[in-house]
């Protein structure tokens, strides 16, 4: 049966049930739909937890009996075998698969959805909010599982829609501007990416996935294989152009300097759950797509443009960190730290070392649990203190011990404290950077120290410092009320994320091993050949 394999289920079930939950209250009679509205969030969180359980079972090998360490390059677990046609005339198939690059992201997505639902459990008009989050889950998982570029692109664009609505309807005061900017930026970039994809499409050779009318296909596996064996696009200039078009699409999503400006606005205005998903998973789509499409299919172009990658990575890292220093808005600060961390991912890829790739992969995952924690904290801070200004208060540890605790853990994870998840990735990337670029490693390393400095000082001010140990300074926005600590559901969500930060700091090998096997094989299969070819050139 088609569409009943585990990967299709974790994509389609949230997507379709989310759509259904969104539509049903509009078409059913009034009294039924009103009763339904209150139970939507229960259904949504139940479904997404079940999907998470299913993904975990896939990871543990209960479903599919997968040995993750033996998954090499170009082979995928749970891959669809025969072509399942979606649009036969132009060669679009429903072709899914997962590997060490995509699976941690899939697991992360299915994990973050129930947590973000939990964090915003009591949101207004929740019956729409939680349904949109379910649609979001389907679209995000779809991006990571689809091995057909067309379906990949459709899911890629589909993620924009629920996020746009989340920001537009549940966002802050400036939500209209932020959501439009978010949409226009990422949409324009992905249209350019689409042009690149089309050029690739028109250069594909005949295969069993080819369209009945056009004779070309969108199958990523076949494309990658064709690129490895004979080169997908013959003309070198066109190859570079396509690579650059893809880079624009992916770098805007990541986002990298200079196309990052949508991110702080979107983050500041987005509701907490939106921010968590945006930082946790949506940014990683850029890095994922870059590795999966641009690097794998055009290794020569990637090697040619390594200086550009290093420049973009360094620029994002340094610029993100420097701007972070000047921020007084908590969410904006976390947003810029995301830009900074995404720069590290580019640097990891630019090293062209197995350990650098693995570090980039692990950074994608680690940042995917730490930054949602930070955004959950920022959201709950906004919720209980009605402000995001860091300077407006002192010593919240006394009033909100749990909030302060989670905040500390998140910041520690973000600045790369050993034994927390972020550290593993940073160290791996630094080692790889040193292996490739020598002492230039001091540049990113010093930047990281600066970030740590600022985190520590603002943490000290905000959480601990206070003239009166029992009072601190409370922001004006509270109007003299007593501040509250986090609610139980926020607390549960943050606890899970915090625990995972520690777990993956102590036991990174859960994902690290498969990532490093994948990276080694990736470089052996695609990049070594390209490196030799480049060196052979006069």
């Amino acid at each position: 049966m088609t569409f009943t394999d585990p990967l299709s289920i974790i994509t389609l079930v949230p997507l379709l049930s989310g759509l259904l939950l969104l539509i049903l209250p509009n078409v059913l009679p009034q009294h039924i739909s009103q009763r339904m509205q209150s139970s939507v969030r229960n259904v949504a969180i139940g479904l997404s937890t079940a999907v998470f359980a299913l993904t975990t079972l896939i990871f543990l090998g209960t479903i599919g009996q997968i040995d993750w360490l033996s998954i090499g390059m170009g082979s995928f677990v749970l891959e669809t075998e025969d072509p399942v046609w979606l649009i036969e005339s132009i060669g679009v198939t429903w072709h899914l698969g997962a590997d060490a690059l995509s699976f941690p992201m899939i697991w992360l997505t299915t994990l973050l959805i129930p947590i973000s639902m939990l964090v915003q459990w009591d949101v207004e008009r929740g019956h729409r909010f939680h349904a949109l989050l379910l649609i979001m889950e389907g679209a995000l998982v779809g991006v990571f599982v689809s091995l057909d570029l067309f379906v990949f692109y459709v899911f890629w664009e589909l993620t924009l829609v629920p996020m746009f609505f989340l920001i537009m309807i549940w966002g802050g005061e400036d939500r209209k501007y932020a959501s439009m900017k978010f949409f226009i930026y990422t949409f324009t970039a992905s249209v350019l990416m689409l042009v690149g994809i089309l050029v690739m499409y028109f250069n594909t050779a005949d295969s069993i996935f080819s369209g009945s009318l056009t004779g070309h296909h969108f199958n990523l596996v076949e494309m990658t294989e064709q690129a490895r064996v004979s080169g997908l696009i013959a003309s070198e200039g066109l190859r570079h152009l396509v690579w650059l078009l893809l880079l624009i699409g992916f770098a805007t999503k990541m986002p990298s300097v200079p196309v990052h400006t949508w991110l702080p606005d979107a983050h500041v205005q987005a509701p907490t759950a939106g921010s968590m998903l945006l930082a946790g998973v949506m940014l990683k789509m850029g890095a994922y797509g870059f590795l999966r499409v641009a690097v794998a299919i055009f290794p020569e172009s990637t090697l040619t443009f390594v200086p550009l990658l290093v420049f973009l990575g360094m620029a994002s890292l340094v610029y993100g960190a420097v701007v972070c220093l000047g921020q007084t808005n908590l969410k904006r600060m976390v947003a810029y730290s995301s830009v900074s961390h995404m720069g590290l991912i580019f640097l990891g890829i630019a090293t062209m070392q197995p350990i650098g790739f693995a570090g980039a992969l692990f950074m994608m995952f680690a940042h995917g649990i730490i930054s949602p924690l930070l955004f959950a904290v920022a959201g709950s801070f906004k919720h209980h203190y009605h402000t995001l200004e860091i300077g407006s208060m002192r010593g919240i540890a006394h009033h909100s011990p749990f909030l302060a605790g989670h905040m500390m853990l998140g910041w520690m994870g973000s600045l790369g404290l050993p034994l927390l998840a972020g550290f593993v990735a940073e160290v791996a990337i630094m080692i790889a950077f040193w292996m490739t670029f020598g002492w230039w490693v001091l540049l990113p390393a010093i930047t990281l120290i600066f970030t740590a400095l600022y985190y520590l000082t603002s943490m000290q001010k905000m959480i601990f410092e206070s003239d009166d140990p029992h009072q601190g300074i409370l922001p004006d926005t509270l109007h003299g009320e007593d501040p509250r600590d986090v609610t139980w559901h926020e607390n549960v969500g943050m606890f899970i994320l915090g625990a995972l930060t520690i777990l993956f700091g102590i036991m990174p090998f859960i994902f690290w091993d498969m990532m490093s096997v994948w990276s080694t094989e990736f470089i052996e299969t695609y990049l070594i050949h390209a490196m030799n070819a480049l060196e052979a050139m006069p």
């Binding site: 979606l86 005339s89 132009i90 609505f165 009945s212 056009t214």
Partner: protein
Amino acid sequence: MILSVDESQALAPELVMVAGIILAIIVPNLGDARVRLPLTSMRVPILWGGRRFELTSDPRAPGVLSAIALAIACLLSGLAIESADGMSISGVIQVTGFSRFMTMVFTAALAITAIASIYRIPSTRLLPEDLIDPDDSVESSLMDNRRQVDLYILLLMVALGMSLMALSSDLFFLIVCLELASMASYVLVGFHKETEVGGEAGAKYFIVGSIASATGIYGMSLLYIWSGSLDFDTLAESWSSMGELEPLAGIGVGLMLVAFGFKVSAAPFHLAAPDAYSGTNAPIAGMLATASKAMGFVAMMRVLIGFAGPNDGVIAWGFALAILAVITMTWGNLAALSSENPKRMLAYSSVAHAGYMLAALAALGSGLADSDTQDMLQMAIVFHLAVLVLFKLGAFLVLTLIEIDGGGNKISDLHGLARRDPIIATSMFVFMLSLAGIPPLSGFLSKFLMINGLVTTTSGTGALDADGVIPWLQSVDPFFLLAIAIVLNSALSLFYYLRIGLVMFFEKPGSESPLSPALGLRVLVVVSMIFTVLFGMGPASQWLLALIETAIASF
């Protein structure tokens, strides 16, 4: 002329339409009139005149009647696509799968227009007290069903003209049928007398249209002088025996392009279209944007591909059409960006879509396409014409719903539609996305097939060893640029299509009142939306494409 049994079977859809016209004339006049037989006192009911029956004086009767006739014609022609055997009738008609397919598209569009008009034209039963009030009498007379009959007769005549045009195998007959449909549509545009702009729009459309037609007919006469016959086969023979382009033939075809260019609203012959669309009511505007445009394209294909196709050295019109295509799509999109009237915006979007299809047609005229690619390009055009009936007409149906309560002439009338009616707003949004060519909707598939055709046509020409993008672009055939033009224009068009979605979902509605409960119209909108999605992917799209492939094979 009496048709044989075979011939009348082959022309069944047209006969149904003729029967529909006759019934539409007779039925509303049926009444209880009796006549006294001479020299007796027996009074025999003759049904003609007198006091009309409940059923025949129902204002909706003519609309229902014509919708049923058109639906039957649509069904019959759909069933005949695969069995049509190219039977020739009277030397001017040839019943092919292609013409049957187009008849299906035309009649489907017109059936939808007819159903929408039932709800759109104010149709209330005349009550005696309405007539007493002198101020109201004008309005009331406009609501009488005897006037409504005219609209539906005209619609049926448009359908008949279009359908016969698709069947014609003779240029003269083609022009005559084209004019039958055009004349009827000019009246339809001006039919909406309740608004002050209706008459102006009709007059404008008529004047520009008749000048365009006159030009086309002049072109036809030049072709007649050149070839001595207007039969397509003879014309094709003369054309292919030309060593180089002869002036008479070239000028003749060029002038005919003007007439067809007006019908498909290609720039610069489109200038009357936005006024006509915004002046008339939404169903008629939808008919102009779909059926009428399809008619223009079929006529164009009949002439350009039917006999004036590119052959050994004579590449007459490919390049001209390519330039026309680029101007048309760019002009349409730029003008649509600044339109504040949704009907005007859709009119310009329709101009832009004409540009995309002209680009595909231009590739056919480039002389570079092999026969597979030619089939693909034709399929892309016909597929686009067919699915336009779903999403373009669908968008006009939504506007019809808004027009029923007055309004529909400003973007602000769409504000907050999602709050007033989420289902209709979602459908409208899907139509907009499909018009913009967002995957995986049917508007994407048709546009993609056109781009694919253009790229395949020129794929052999790019230099593989070019070491930069600019040298590569210089080495590739200029027709490749058409593909780029379509992509860029699609990106441009997104802004105004998405704007509609934005105002529907996020602006505050002007009035909170729900839309009128026109059930039939709502069903049509939702069905159009479902098929817009279905024909974009999966087995349904494959089925439609296979059907079109069969149709194209008999072009």
